[in-house]
């Protein structure tokens, strides 16, 4: 249902007006048009609310009480950045929306080129989302990452996105181009000052060529008071393998929206993730997977563990256009509610215009299986620990699907730490 246009502006929207005017005044001629167009597109929609179908379960209008001031350029200490937890990587640091070369590793790697940009992206790859438009209207900076055709990057590329300061907001625009036949592992982390309240809004465009092999791990470990919005739009070439994993742990409010489109035939995409939520966290994962060509395969598997008064939202839409015959799409969402005040809202959607397809989705919601718990306790394991084992096992099923051994270990360690079960050994 369309919202009436005459809704009064919220405090956050008023703050955004002032922020746009200020940043627009400093924008160079070259980018002014793009900033203005994005702003107009945002203003036409306003901050999304529950009557906007795609944001039905995440009413940003009421959850975003204010829009914090745009963060200025700062220089945090190198050890504040956690990133991929000590793995050996090529690090790219983005602080407050801007590329920070001093915190990044030396980037002289064959096949990998990194350039600082103003954060403006060429196209928004079919996303018409208010918060993606807002990103481009207020974008502070960004980078462009290019991986040459047939390049096999030997170490993970680590993108650390850090918001420094309290009551500030950061907007970064990133473009990633991965050439045909290239192979890369990207580990991206979203973090900030512990206990700081801030807002981060990231927009990333990824284009992957033919016959590439890309693994992408996102670690969302923002501060517990942060609001996190990430829009990721992905185009995949033919015969490519693309694997994406979201680890969702931080932020009081988070929204990860993925727009994925198959542009070449016979490509496989695996989208997976785990959300670990407690207190009054609200975490939203929203997917739009568009099969536009024939013979592609997509897998969407997400698992959430929701405790206390937290709320998990999952929306997944698989669209199969008429040309996309022989599509195979499978989506599965499983949620464990650990407390009587936890909440899950799931909307797995299929939109199918081709007949020769196999599509399915499933969703389960419930508490820990009493039979399994009994089984473990009957073997002398105390209840608290038995519960942890079952939660870990539940999440591990999704984690293990991500075929990068070092990432699986990292994710399991982070999961155990969240469960306060560091001493527990997996397997």
């Amino acid at each position: 249902m369309n919202a009436p246009a005459n809704i009064k502006e919220t405090k956050a929207e008023q703050s955004l007006n002032a922020q746009f005017d200020a940043i627009f005044a400093q924008t160079t001629q070259e980018n002014a048009n793009q900033r203005k167009q994005a702003w107009d597109a945002f203003k036409a929609k306003g901050i999304p609310h529950r009557r906007v179908e795609e944001w039905h379960y995440t009413d940003l209008r009421t959850k975003m009480n204010d829009a914090f001031a745009l963060a200025s350029k700062t220089a945090p200490k190198a050890d504040a950045l956690k990133g991929a937890g000590g793995l050996k990587t090529y690090r790219i640091a983005i602080v407050n929306g801007r590329y920070a070369p001093e915190l990044s590793s030396d980037q002289d790697v064959a096949g990998l080129s990194i350039a600082q940009t103003g954060g403006f992206l060429a196209s928004q790859l079919g996303t018409d989302d208010a918060m993606a438009h807002l990103n481009q209207a207020l974008v502070q900076g960004g980078i462009s990452i290019k991986i040459a055709a047939d390049a096999k990057i030997d170490l993970p590329i680590e993108i650390v996105r850090y918001t420094d300061g309290s009551e500030v907001s950061s907007y970064a625009g990133t473009s990633v181009e991965i050439g045909s036949g290239a192979k890369a592992l990207i580990i991206e982390s979203f973090e900030g000052d512990a206990d700081a309240a801030y807002q981060s809004n990231a927009l990333t465009e990824v284009k992957v060529g033919d016959k590439a092999d890309v693994h992408w791990l996102k670690l969302q470990v923002e501060s517990a008071k942060a609001q996190h919005i990430e829009t990721l739009s992905i185009e995949l070439g033919a015969e490519t393998n693309f694997q994406h994993f979201i680890y969702n742990e931080g932020a009081s409010l988070s929204r990860a929206q993925l727009f994925l489109e198959f542009k070449g035939e016979n490509t496989h995409a695996g989208l997976r993730g785990t959300s670990l939520l407690k207190d009054s966290q609200h975490a939203d994962i929203t997917l739009f997977v568009k099969h536009a060509v024939r013979g592609c395969e997509s897998r969407e598997y997400y698992r959430s563990v929701v405790d206390d008064k937290a709320r998990a939202v999952f929306q997944g839409k698989i669209i199969v256009e008429q040309a996309a015959q022989k599509t195979d799409g499978q989506m599965m969402i499983k949620t464990l509610l650990l407390s009587d005040t936890a909440e899950i809202n799931a909307k797995p959607e299929l939109e199918i215009f081709a007949d020769d397809v196999q599509c399915a989705h499933g969703s389960t919601t419930g508490d820990i299986d009493e039979d399994l718990l009994f089984y473990l306790m009957a073997r002398g394991i105390p209840e608290a620990q038995a519960r942890k084992i079952l939660v870990l096992a539940f999440l591990s099923e999704a984690i293990e699907e991500f075929e990068e051994e070092q990432c699986v270990e990292l994710l399991e360690a982070m999961t155990r730490s969240w469960l306060h079960a560091d001493d527990m050994v997996s397997e």
Binding site: M1, E53, L337, N345, E351, F353, A354, V357, S363
Partner: protein
Amino acid sequence: MAAVQETIDQVKAIDVDQYKYGFVTDIESELAPKGLNEDIVAYISAKKDEPEWMLNWRLEAFRRWKTMEEPTWARVDYPKIDFEDLHYYAAPKKREGPKSLDEVDPEILETYKKLGIPLSEQEILAGVAPENRVAVDAVFDSVSVATTFKEELAKAGVIFCPISEAIREHPELVQKYLGSVVPVSDNFYATLNSAVFSDGSFVYIPPGVRCPMELSTYFRINEPNTGQFERTLIIADKGSYVSYLEGCTAPQRDENQLHAAVVELVALEDAQIKYSTVQNWYPGDSEGKGGIYNFVTKRGDCREKNSKISWTQVETGSAITWKYPSCILRGDNSQGEFYSIAISNGHQQIDSGTKMIHLGKNTASRIISKGISAGVSQNTYRGQVSAHRKASNARNFTQCDSLLIGDKCGAHTVPYIESKNSSAVFEHEATTSKISDDQMFYCQARGLDEEEAVALIVNGFVRDVIQQLPMEFAVEAQKLISISLEGSVG
């Protein structure tokens, strides 16, 4: 195999004219002037001899309706309806107050005979064993023309009559329950219905009574440019049981006709209501011209503990269907069920599903939805399952399967799953596929031709739902499915 052969014969027999209920009854009608305003609302109310409270209720609904906007969220596409270009009341001209069936206009009796609906009690008695009898309320355009077996039902204490009669004869029941499940301002079409509804059925089953026969209403739209707004209210008092059937057809016309009904079910403690629909409104021609717009609000309220409401629907007709029979599981241990077959062919658009709202403890619901799309139709399942904070041990199982026949149609699944209780267990699964070549090969290798093979596979696909229908309906539904899909193969 006999059943399949019968299906094929049935399809062949209607080869030319697919929609066999498309004839027009030539009868003099009394029409309200076109358009909608407070005078028309008062006109309808006066026609029905309604008490003042009813008129006020309608007027309030009308005033609310004027402030509302048509919903646009459903996946259906149609030109804007001109609500001023409709007759909101159409009734066959009455001769001097028909008191018995003999006095009902023979043209109307002939119509129902052609539709295969027996209105004469003797006829039914002669043919069928007594326990298989069905009491029928026949609604022709805006009025109920006949209700059978009233006396016999009255002996059991069951009230089965047109709702206009109930408003006059049983105001205490109507006032208590009307609008208590679907509130006056529930949604655009329900509010419109509340203002202008003309007839429909009223059922009250007293405590502890198992209704001695199936109750049924047969809706027929005849007049052009009319909207049919029927209102059904079924109340099953403590420990009672009723099975209710609904059928509908309309003549073939080039223009679209509006049907906006409201059905309210109330099940009190230990009561059980089984509501079955075979919807076969005129779906429009092969070019997508004409057909019924079917915008219906159906909702059941399991108001007290251990109650149960079960919806079964076979949707084959209508140009556009917008319909979500729902259950509010308020009472502890109450149960809701929804079994649906939705078949779209030609240019039909269906956006249908259910809502299961778990409020009470230990409530259970089950949803089985089978969608079949063919031709250039669009078929959407839209459903909601939610558990309230206090709905401990709520349980839902949902299965929606879609079958695509041809590469120009669409099948969509839009479930909303909302749980606020950790002990609630919800399971949802959905699949979409076409009839596989393997299945076809298997059948054809055993000597079935292509049409027979498809009919067999489709019948297997919808079997779970067909089994839920009362026997008389199951046979009809099975035939209807084959007819609806006629011409979609090959």
